[in-house]
Symmetry: C2
Subunit: 342 residues, 2 copies
């Protein structure tokens, strides 16, 4: 493995052809199975392919420019957030079943990282890109447009996408939760999340939420945005932080269920009853919610479906089928029992 001069002993099509006593072109035809050769020749070539352990060099094929690559670049903010991990898994599975490979890009929620990654990944001539989020740097946009390849923006539905968009309207989604909680009688609400970026779906949810709360005569008395990933522990200490400064908060809306669970644990450990002493609402209907005694108030978003749909859009576009430029994946409120009943 170490010091083999792989440059020299690498088996190329030419070597296979030579060993089989045919021309490169004939060997190429056999391997692609496109006809134009005799059975005898096929056997000769395939025998050598097995014999020599020939693996085609896809780089050469794509490079020749005759077909596009099977790479799809997929950018994801982070994998500590299990929603994104699951979306990525869904995308990769679907793409894989159509013979595509995922080139991963973790953007850490920043446009700079995204831009750098786009520049690099484009130099590999991918067949298409799937990007999380609808906000991109000006240079990224320029590169994307120049590349001429299909782009699917996911997560945050973009009504006028670069090319295609699959997701939900996070403002509306937050709004619906806000209206629901106001409807439960809450007037003094809090928010705990991690996004410190205005160009962000979670921020859009918060804005929709705030709007609905205010429309209903309530107030979001504290919006806490931690510099962390949206996981259990930030939910825990975020709750502590929020309650330390705002003792009158009646209900907290979290960026996702993982954080909400952290909040539930905090309350439990401080002897606060949910929902009697405080209401807790999450988002995303994540796996952790499936094992809790009380049904967590949340918002179901079919994120696995979202990933699949994004991959489907990409594949359809690549195979030349007509595709809708936007696809709203929808959501559904889960009333749950961690907020008081109206």
């Amino acid at each position: 493995m170490v010091d083999k001069l792989n440059k020299n002993n690498k088996v190329s099509l030419a070597k296979v052809a030579q060993a089989a006593g045919v021309s490169k072109m004939t060997a190429s035809r056999v391997l692609r199975g496109e006809g134009g050769y005799s059975e005898k020749t096929r056997v000769k070539v395939m025998t050598q392919v097995d014999e020599l352990g020939y693996l085609p060099n896809r780089l050469a094929t794509v490079f020749a420019g005759d077909q596009s690559s099977t790479f799809i670049g997929v950018s994801i903010p982070d994998l500590g957030n299990e929603v994104f991990a699951q979306v990525l898994e869904a995308i990769d599975r679907k793409l894989g079943s159509f013979g595509h490979q995922t080139v991963l890009g973790l953007t850490q929620h920043t446009q700079e990282e995204e831009e750098n990654w786009i520049r690099t990944v484009l130099s590999w001539q991918p067949a298409g890109l799937i990007l999380t989020g609808r906000y991109h740097s000006a240079r990224a946009l320029e590169m994307l447009r120049n590349s001429g390849i299909p782009v699917v923006e996911i997560w945050d539905l973009n009504s006028s996408p670069l090319d295609m968009s699959v997701g939900i309207n996070h403002f509306d989604c937050g709004f619906e939760m806000g209206r629901f909680l106001v409807g439960c009688g809450y007037r003094s609400l809090g928010f705990v999340g991690t996004s410190h970026d205005t160009a962000n779906a979670a921020t859009a949810r918060l804005e929709g939420f705030t709007k609905a709360v205010e429309n209903g005569g309530g107030k979001v008395v504290r919006q806490l945005c931690l510099h962390d990933t949206a996981g259990f522990y930030p939910g825990f200490y975020g709750t502590e932080q929020l309650l330390a400064s705002q003792r009158d908060v009646e209900c907290i809306f979290y960026q996702n269920d993982s954080m909400a669970f952290g909040g539930l644990q905090y309350c439990d450990q401080r002897g606060m009853q949910v929902p009697d002493d405080i209401g807790i609402a999450g988002w995303g209907d994540l796996p952790v919610a499936s094992v809790l005694k009380k049904r967590l108030t949340s918002m179901h978003v079919p994120h696995i479906r979202l990933g699949q749909a994004a991959a489907e859009q990409m594949i359809a576009r690549l195979s030349g089928e007509p595709v809708a430029s936007t696809r709203d994946i929808g959501y559904r409120l889960i009333p749950g029992s961690t907020v008081r009943q109206r």
Copy 2:
């Protein structure tokens, strides 16, 4: 984006060179900054690069065979298991910081999937591969050896690796947990996991665990292996299933903390006290454990560090530095308080 004939309007080095009034070679030299050109020429070329929005085609460079690609293939069983998601994130971040790109492969814990993915990814001439697990199909092994590229096997430490291995000895790790629990006085133990595959780290843990329990005069009365991912809900219903058939189990060891948490929730909802009525032990020291009231008995494995170490090994090897072929990343028992004190 849609119907642009990108083949024709794609900017190549030749176009840049022509526009700048120099030869391809000179333009290439300027772009690589390796000297051999005048300042005047540099400016002319770079002006055209900006003007035309030139993006180099890395495929061509690698294809020419003069340098190896910057792709690293990374295979991961699944991303539903948050440990693996975090390992992947750690690997990608580290690789990315050294200018490498991750090509993802989800193997779903099967050697067939892994083999197929290896075949495909090798055809893209990656600089190296990082594979989860130490068991590979015969054909996969052959392809890996023929490829001549660096391979890091992670997770399950392989004392005689294909090339390099980074991980821990899962048998020993399970053994330590078994010995600890026997030391706590437990004699009738259960196991709840999801691996239905003998060639698997989780299975090795179970074997080590069983061995230690038997050495200590105890017995693993039931080993439950669900066909599911190692998450919260399988932990929940797995516990239900196990307790339905084995009422005398004193303590359950889970495949990981997520499952153990599912078990904790099940017990709580059935009114069983932990650790008075039953002991619960997890594995991995996962994020969920950080917010629980009782410290979960578990095994800390520095899996983020593991991912980083794997990437470091790869990078060191690629830059020609001498590297150890195996790297044991270690683990540490967390006694916790979800098992009775000895």
